[in-house]
């Protein structure tokens, strides 16, 4: 006998992600899921963004890493509330990990919560966390072919931030080729070149983000 199921493989995760979303909404926190390769500049983007936030928007960070608290320590040193999730061997955060973290991390008064996912351009795309925005951070040294090689990740982005844009020339990065690759799988996601090092483009990104918050 055949039984029709038609159910998503990760529906259990999706269900908890929906519950996380309800928790965020009840607390009035706008939540970003930052996904990128290792070293693209997720932590740098968080720090650069926080520097330019208006005083009334209180940020917090959930840090996901295989191991260590290096990133969380960097964030905490700036006086930003942060909780570290060590995934052990797991290559991505999932919705239950976020739910567990939230249990000991009150969101009272937090307006903007960054979830820094594990550095990985494959696995993180499949696991919803309940965030309001999926932010993919690409970076120039990774090369301009990434949207062609990792279409699943770029297709899922609500916005793509291209970090280290001060190095475009040095890496002979073909921005038009990159943009076409992104548009191929995701014509709606804006592409925002920035440099966390020089500050170029950060203001525009923060303005774009704040417009989503209201």
């Amino acid at each position: 006998m055949k039984i029709e199921v038609a159910q998503g493989i990760l529906s259990a995760n999706d269900q908890i992600a929906a519950e996380n979303r309800a928790t965020f909404d009840a607390a009035g926190a706008f939540v970003l899921n930052l996904m990128a390769s290792p070293g693209a500049g997720k932590t740098s983007l968080i720090l650069s963004t926080v520097e330019q936030l208006p005083g009334e928007v209180h940020p917090a960070v959930i840090e996901g890493d295989l191991a260590s608290s290096i990133d969380a320590d960097t964030i905490a040193a700036r006086g930003i509330p942060v909780v570290q999730i060590n995934t052990g061997g797991s290559c991505h955060l999932d919705a239950p990990m976020i739910r567990t973290a939230l249990a000991s991390f009150p969101l009272d008064g937090i307006g903007l919560l960054f979830i820094e996912n594990v550095g990985n351009l494959v696995c993180t795309a499949n696991f919803a966390l309940g965030a309001h925005l999926s932010v993919v951070v690409a970076s120039v040294p990774e090369g301009h072919d990434k949207p062609y090689k990792y279409p699943g990740m770029f297709a899922r982005a609500d916005v793509v931030v291209l970090n280290k844009a001060d190095l475009l020339e040095a890496f002979e990065f073909d921005l038009d080729f990159f943009r076409r690759g992104l548009e191929m799988v995701n014509p709606d996601a804006p592409l925002l070149p920035i440099s966390c090092r020089t500050g170029e483009g950060v203001e525009g990104w923060v303005a774009w983000l704040l417009a989503r918050l209201h």
């Binding site: 199921v5 038609a6 259990a12």
Partner: protein, 127 residues
């Protein structure tokens, strides 16, 4: 390597569906997986054989129905199937602006179950 949690997802979706329908044994699990969904069939079957031990899905065969992604050329409208790494060029006119749709399906379509002793007598029904 997210095939492990993916396999756990497949197993639990299948077991729940079987339980809802009072099935005794799952023989086949039919999956629809898009070509861009970054799932390796062999790896999933490998994990499945380990995870399903001792459940009513032990020994079940996983059938992967691969769903290709479709590229549409913005310039000439030509459509062709495509998989990663994506090409940047239309196979008909050489245009370099393409739109990709589909290929990200990721679900359990159906299960096939063995329920031969079901309904033969109420006595055999398990709680």
């Amino acid at each position: 390597m997210h095939e492990l949690p993916v396999t756990q997802g497949i197993l639990s979706v299948a077991l729940e569906a079987a339980q809802r329908n009072g099935a005794r044994r799952i023989t086949t699990i039919n999956l629809t997986i898009g070509d861009l969904a970054s799932i390796v069939d062999d790896s999933v079957q490998f994990y499945f054989d380990i995870l399903s031990k001792g459940t009513i899905a032990e020994g079940a065969v996983l059938c992967f129905r691969r769903q290709p992604a479709l590229a549409t050329c913005v310039d000439c409208g030509h459509q062709f199937p495509i998989s990663a790494p994506l090409t940047a060029t239309c196979s008909a006119c050489g245009g370099t602006r393409l739109h990709i749709s589909g290929g990200r399906e990721f679900f359990v379509e159906s299960i096939e179950v063995d329920d031969e002793d079901r309904g033969s007598a109420g006595d055999f029904e398990r709680e």
